[in-house]
Each structure stands twice: as structure tokens, then as C-alpha cells.
Point group: C2
Chain length 177, copies 2
């Protein structure tokens, strides 16, 4: 099969996307490390738990919401549990399932860290975009995410490859996956 | 200062962005691990070197192009050097500077891996977007990247915070930074 190389317009968009996503993740991680002592992913775990009924979520559902592998979530929750911000509970009905629960200390850390985080996201992203661009970004990203989750009825198989259904993830340059 | 929380439209766009970027990085890393035995960042190092005159770039310039810290680049290049894909050369004029050079083996791995990588990017992203959306994505990401690099004349200080000028980066959940 002949490779369909990117056009110059696609190339430009792709490189801009890579640059923006790396710089954005760096800025967000940096603020959260400085003010909360944790990277973005850990913060996302706390934020998602805080919005759930009883501040608890099943690990499998949480991995799906965060779009990550279960092993990566387990690593994050283990660290957060060690710091007293999250507690794990076993599910009585289902031995395979377990829950992550936000502790009071986790809630306090989240409440203290959230304003700075939102300010960083706003300064890096929303303060620079027009309302039309915010809408475009949402539409574009929803389309990409749906496609990669096999929700758009496109080329089959994608849904099988989602991170949270996988046992282990590719090693990303030494990260725990 | 009162926190300017995100509006529901901004919230929606932000969550879609996080989902899309995590799924995209996962899909890209997965293909590159399977076909090239390396994560996306390592591939980006090889790709950038392959386009440079003499297939060599100064480490500091390479970190800036990739939008990462020098310590993260050093880690990647050390691994690529160990696998014989990149070679390091010291700069005669400037003891502080050193170069990364793509080897013949690195070129071969890149040529073998590139078609599958481009196909993954195309299937995940460009095949799902209209030409207008590709243009919008490029425009949005360019604006975000410029802002985070302090190139838009906006709130000062951003340019000082870019990853490649920093000695060390925040620990991202156990990754080498």
C-alpha cells in the first residue's frame, strides 16, 4: 500500500498540535507540581472522584473516564493512597472490582489546588482563543476521541484497542505506562 | 482574586481535548512501540534529525524544537544511542554544546517505521476532520503554542518558563521528566 503522506497543511497542523500539547502539559504539570505536589494525571483522579456520588468511583470506570490503562491508574491511585488523598475499597458484590474514594485530605488538597489549575488552563488556552475557536476545539477533539474509541461507526476494531481494556500499556520512555 | 471557573462550553472543550490528546498519544505510542520499539518522543527525535542538514542537530536546538526539557532529551538520546540509532558528537567551538547525529541504522529504523506512523496519525486525526477543521486545529494550536512560549506579546514571563531553558522538569508520575 502506498503511504498517504501528510500534505503541507496537515503537516503544519500536526506539528502545531504536538507543540501545543507538549507545552500545555508541561505548563499544567508544572503548576500542579508546585502547588499540589502532583502531576496532572493525579489531579484528574482527584477531580473526577470529587464529582462522583459519595466521592467514589469504580477503578475500571475511572480508567475509562481518564482514557488511560488500568495499570497506569493503579500506579496513580497507589501513590495518592500513600499520601492519604485517596482510599481504596473492595467491592462486595464483585471481587474483581474495587473502588477509589476521595478522602477528606484529598478534598482539601483539591480545593486548595483547583483555583491555580483553572487559572493556568485559562491563561494557556481559553484566554487566547475566541468563543468560536473554543467551540471548534471542542468539536474537533470530540470527533477524534470518538473515533479512537470506535464510537463513530468507522473502521472497526478501534474499540478493542482502548487503553482501559488493555492489561498493560506501551512503555512511554520509562514512565510507568 | 476570585477564580474565573470555566464556563460549561469551556469545560466541554477542555474535557474533549484531554480525552483526545490522551487517546491520540496512546494510539501513536502503541503503533510506534509495536513497529519501532520506541515511544513517540524517541521517534520525534529521529524524525527531526533526519530533516536537518547532515542529519545532525545541536541538543539545545533539538530540545526547543521538540518543546521538552534538556534532561528529557538527554534521557531519550542516551537510550537511542545505546540502540545505535543516534550518535553524540561534542561541539569543538563550544564545550557546552553537543550534537545528536542520526546513524545509518537510525535512518533505516525511521524509514521502516514512518509509513505506519503516518497511517496512524491519518486514521486517528486527518481522516476524521474536514479541511476546515484541519485549518482550525492548526490555527488554534499555533496560538496556544505561541502564547506558552511568550511569542504573542501577552502576559510576560512565559518565555522564561519554557521547558528547554529549565534545568529540570517536574516529575510526571515517575517518568524521567
Amino acid at each position: 500500500m502506498t503511504t498517504r503522506w501528510l500534505t503541507s497543511e496537515e503537516q503544519r497542523a500536526w506539528r502545531a498540535y504536538i507543540a501545543a500539547s507538549r507545552l500545555l502539559e508541561d505548563a499544567i504539570d508544572r503548576q500542579l507540581q508546585q502547588e499540589g505536589g502532583m502531576p496532572h494525571l493525579f489531579y484528574s483522579v482527584l477531580a473526577n472522584l470529587s464529582e462522583a456520588p459519595g466521592r467514589r468511583l469504580r477503578m475500571t470506570g475511572l480508567a475509562e473516564t481518564l482514557k488511560i490503562t488500568r495499570s497506569r491508574l493503579t500506579y496513580a491511585v497507589t501513590r495518592l493512597e500513600r499520601d492519604g488523598l485517596v482510599r481504596r475499597e473492595n467491592c462486595r458484590q464483585d471481587k474483581r472490582g474495587s473502588f477509589a474514594v476521595l478522602t477528606e485530605e484529598g478534598t482539601a488538597v483539591l480545593e486548595r489546588t483547583a483555583p491555580g489549575h483553572v487559572e493556568t488552563v485559562r491563561a494557556a488556552l481559553f484566554d487566547r482563543l475566541t468563543p468560536e475557536q473554543v467551540e471548534q476545539l471542542g468539536e474537533i477533539c470530540t470527533r477524534i476521541a470518538r473515533g479512537l474509541q470506535g464510537e463513530d461507526g468507522g473502521a472497526g476494531g478501534a474499540a478493542e484497542d482502548v487503553p482501559w481494556r488493555r492489561r498493560s500499556s506501551p512503555c512511554s520512555g520509562g514512565s510507568p505506562g
